[in-house]
Amino acid sequence: MEGMTITGMRLGLTSRLFKTVMKIFGLIHKKEGQTLIEAVIALAVAMLVISALAVLTANSVNNAKYAENKSLANNLLNKTLNEVRVVRDQQTWDTGSTPFANYPLDQCYKINLTTWQLITPGHTCSSPFSDSSCGTGATRTTNCVSSNYDCVDSPSSITSTDHDYFFCRRLELKLGPETDSRTVDVSIAWTDGSGDHVVNAVTDLTKHAL
């Protein structure tokens, strides 16, 4: 009997303690409901959590797209450097009718893939270079044709008819560090959800065997 009383008292104490803790943490509904400040704080916390999740997701998507675009741009850089190398190999260096070494220096060029020659618009490359240099929207292609830049397809296009002109390319020819050499400076620019980006590669071409 004595033991049961003690147990009952212990249970009663535990129960009161439990209810107190639950009240402190707001897990037991108060008769008067939530105060305005509680509701505002709860809403603010919810908004913060949702905003943080939204920002995280947007960043994640932007980073994924940026990584993909940068990969494609680097592909285009390599492709362009190879094409210039072919132009060099298809021409004599400093003799004949179209020697490679006779291209004017510090100029912007386009590559004619049919005749394997550089097209010189006779215009100095402007700086800085960005995707907006190629213009935007419907005028983009026109701007590129009339300017010194190329609108180049994303190399992800599988078929030859899939032209999206996603990247803007600048190709500049400069005097090389050694005799009979030329420095080729290629930049690829694009714009995506995380802003304007440019990747750049520079290589030196030397006089070839022909």
């Binding site: 509904h29 008769k31 997701t57 994924a64 592909n75 190999d89 298809q90 893939l113 065997a209």
Partner: protein, 197 residues
Amino acid sequence: MNNNKKLGFSMIEILIALGIFAVISVVSLDLFISSVRATNKVRVINEVKQNGESMMSVLDVLIRNSGKIDSFSGGVCSIPPPADTNCTEIKFSNDLGIPWSVIWTKNAGLTQNGRIEIKDENNQIFVLSNTNPLSGIDVASTSCTDCGFTKLAKSNNNAPDIIKVKLVLQQGRMSPTRQDFQANIVFERTISLRATL
């Protein structure tokens, strides 16, 4: 009885709370899954790209210093014309007249990746691409109408030959089929032979 009712939640309160909780849970889960999938996609693309770049740079140097072209063959080569278009094999001979070739062997079944091989004068084969069906790359043959090795027109007869290599690289054949584990990257190189014989 009345006291108990005042202390608890009403049914409508519980339903509203559950509804809000469900909406937030679904949105959060969706965001989380999107984030995980984007991460997977970037990882797969990077792996295919790294493998592809490695393979293409070796192929680039080999072809550039290859001596002369003996023939193009294989696949849909020259069908339809022009000649030497979208082929799967190029035979070369080096400056000592020793033959060697580059071969694009297409994938077979779900376990064997399409691959790029170098065959030497003893018919010994060296594989340039990563053939692991799970972590390697598949030199894919579907969805690309103009892939393979193509001979391009030269600027004049004395100029070196030009080869266009266009390949679509995908994840290994045994990779999971889910969209975020798939990559489809086009690699294209235009290579001129430096030593014309």
